[in-house]
């Protein structure tokens, strides 16, 4: 399948010599649309927007808390779609959510509404390759690129299949565990990044645990870039707004550009 706009955009950035920087934030949390614009303005190459779900099994306490707060504030897939429709982020934007929200609305309708709202890609952490069928058909049809995840103990044959089927980029999960900040990312991240880079020419982005400029630089050395979620969401939960998000992402951008 030909690369879609998201992958084309990321490849172009990579070919221009940039390390890719992808912030994640929870849709519906506070003034999130302003934060999307702020992080794009600070140099994000694409932004992942979480659509909150009641039972986010792949997320740690920070993103769980953000999801709970956003749900309590009345967030639904529709409010996230309409929020995104109201802004021009300036970069491609992905959604990240859990499959039940999609399944409940219907794959085709969900994919269509995402595309209409301006989303370019989708990450569904609880949908492995084997269960992708109905969603993938609808997403491809709507022009939504579905990003697949690979983890440190994903065996070689699965890793290759993930790389072959992933669209937009390949999401390398740095460590065994849920989302959250970690003091050290260690050898595991480097090993996985190396295996992914050897398996595919698609952009390889590494996420889970990346929270400081030093860690971003360390992980981007062996991959095409990093995804930073919990460290940003924690700042938003603590009351930091768009300005603080802008500062934090700018610091990461500078660190990546200076290497």
């Amino acid at each position: 399948m030909d690369p879609g706009p998201l992958e084309v955009h990321l490849r172009a950035r990579r070919e221009a010599g940039a390390k890719l920087l992808v912030p994640y934030l929870t849709g519906g949390l506070g003034n999130w649309t302003e934060v999307v614009r702020a992080v794009a303005d600070a140099g994000a190459d694409t932004v992942e927007i979480g659509i909150p779900f009641s039972d986010p099994v792949m997320d740690g306490p920070t993103i769980q808390a953000a999801s709970e707060r956003a749900l309590a504030e009345g967030t639904t897939p529709e409010t996230v779609f309409s929020g995104l429709r109201g802004i021009d982020a300036g970069v491609p934007v992905l959604a990240m959510t859990y499959y039940n929200l999609v399944f409940h609305m219907g794959d085709e309708r969900f994919a269509g509404e995402m595309a209409e709202a301006g989303f370019s890609g989708m990450i569904l952490p609880d949908v492995p390759m084997e269960e992708q069928g109905p969603w993938r058909a609808a997403a491809d049809e709507a022009g939504i690129e579905t990003v697949l995840l690979a983890g440190p103990i994903t065996p070689d044959d699965r890793l290759q299949a993930v790389c072959d089927r992933s669209r937009g980029y390949v999401y390398g999960v740095n460590l065994m565990g849920v989302t959250g900040e970690r003091a050290s990312l260690g050898e595991q991240a480097a090993r996985l990044a190396g295996r992914l880079k050897a398996a595919t020419d698609k952009p390889v982005l590494m996420g889970f645990g990346v929270s400081t400029p030093e860690q971003a630089v360390e992980v981007a050395e062996v991959s095409d870039g990093v995804i930073v979620g919990t460290a940003l969401v924690r700042r938003l939960l603590d009351g930091g707004g768009a300005d603080e998000a802008h500062r934090f992402i700018s610091d990461l951008r500078r660190a990546l550009d200076d290497t």
């Binding site: 779900f53 009641s54 039972d55 986010p56 099994v57 792949m58 740690g60 306490p61 769980q64 709970e68 749900l71 639904t76 897939p77 859990y98 499959y99 039940n100 929200l101 999609v102 399944f103 409940h104 609305m105 952490p125 609880d126 949908v127 492995p128 084997e130 269960e131 697949l148 995840l149 690979a150 983890g151 440190p152 103990i153 994903t154 065996p155 699965r158 993930v162 999960v173 065994m176 565990g177 849920v178």
Partner: protein, 386 residues
């Protein structure tokens, strides 16, 4: 009740909706269980444990006084008499042996009322494993005795403090733990739910109770089967076990759900905890909180094979209210000298309510657990009334 398809599907339900990081473990577990289940040595070791440690076979008891009162011939499969007080031990001993076979040394589990947690902690003590049990904060308060039992058995009990702070959230926490420790830990899931192979594996490990009940009832009934087989359904493991013994007979199979947690009756198809099944959810697909007097049934989903049995009409599922359950709890205690757990009191509540329609028929109820754990809770509710 046969095997699911290669993708772990029972009809349109089941499957394997887990993070990629867990897929290798699910695939490994599937292969390990298939291998073990076909190995006579494994089966013989498990049978030995079920007999000498858990106390199987459990008896079949005919309830003469209750039958006379209801006008329905009531038989009880006495899973309450197993070691640790419920059917849960069958599944746990099987999974613990499998854990040993896979070379892992730590068990992670979720628990609602605590019976599965106690059974897991027991098997961990027996085999020298580390054990961590996740339990909703609300349930830890409701079931203090079982929390103490688990700790006494050497397990660490960790509170699940997100969401509704009940069984659903304990499952989330156990899955998060498993994602982080999958190379050294086995997730000892407590019901016929979750990603493939769990729904099938857990049902196979409970098949023993259905097979016993079939044989025992045929002996008692002169070669006939009961007319109706009834069991309570949260995730649905005890029901799957007893249904498996009667699926190929003409017996009606009846699952009884709490009115506030009726996944089959009030749910719609959805995907959570690794499986596609019936699920209570709001208009957007957010999972709703279940409410039941029994912590063990406080679950908004149901095992995928039950969803399939409901879909095909082989089994029917009916709700009962907390008040009906409280009544059934007292009726069995008073008429038969058996204090049931609140979970199987749901099954009895349905029989009591439907007694006029069941008149003259033979009904087999799976008494999946004993009421010791619920006595303190019921004392608060009933003390002034007795």
């Amino acid at each position: 009740m046969g095997e699911p398809d290669a993708g772990g599907r029972f009809g349109r339900f089941g499957g394997r909706f887990v993070p990629e990081t867990l897929m290798p473990a699910c695939i490994e577990l599937d292969a390990a269980f298939r291998d073990a289940w076909a190995d006579p040595e494994f089966r013989s070791e498990l049978d030995g444990l079920l007999t000498d440690y858990a106390g199987r076979p459990s008896p079949l008891t005919e309830c003469h006084r209750l039958s006379a009162e209801l006008g329905v011939r009531v038989l009880l499969k006495r899973e309450d008499l197993n070691h640790t007080g419920s059917h849960k031990i069958n599944n746990v001993l099987g999974q613990a042996l499998l854990t040993k076979r896979m070379g892992k040394k730590r068990l992670v589990a979720e628990t609602g009322a605590g019976q599965h947690g106690v059974a897991t902690a027991t098997a961990a003590a027996l085999m020298g494993f580390e054990c961590t049990v996740y339990m909703g904060e609300v349930d830890m308060e409701r079931q203090k005795l079982n929390v103490f039992r688990m700790r006494l058995l050497g397990a660490e009990v960790k509170p699940a403090s997100s969401g509704s702070r009940t069984l659903k959230d304990a499952v989330n926490e156990a899955m998060r733990d498993w994602v982080a420790t999958v190379e050294t830990s086995h997730y000892c899931l407590g019901s016929v739910m979750g990603p493939h192979p769990y729904p099938w594996m857990v049902r196979e490990l409970h098949r023993v109770l259905g097979a016993e009940a079939r044989e025992q009832s045929r002996t008692l009934l002169g070669g006939s089967d009961p007319d109706v087989v009834v069991a309570c359904v949260g995730g649905g493991s005890n029901a799957a076990g007893i249904f498996s013994g009667f699926a190929d007979t003409t017996a009606e199979l009846v699952g009884v759900e709490p009115a506030g947690g009726a996944a089959v009756g009030a749910g719609v198809p959805g995907v959570v905890h690794g499986m596609a099944s019936f699920l209570m959810q709001d208009e957007w697909g957010q999972v709703e909180e279940a409410h039941s007097i029994s912590a063990g049934l406080d679950y908004p989903g149901v095992g995928p094979e039950h969803a399939h049995l409901a879909d095909t009409g082989r089994a029917t599922y009916h709700p009962v209210t907390d008040d009906e359950v409280i009544n059934a709890f007292q009726v069995l205690s008073r008429t038969e000298g058996i204090i049931p757990a609140l979970e199987p009191a749901h099954a009895l509540a349905w029989v009591i309510r439907e007694a006029p329609a069941l008149a003259g028929r033979t009904v087999l109820v799976n008494l999946s657990g004993r009421g010791d754990k619920d006595v303190a809770q019921m004392m608060d509710i009933l003390e002034d009334k007795l």
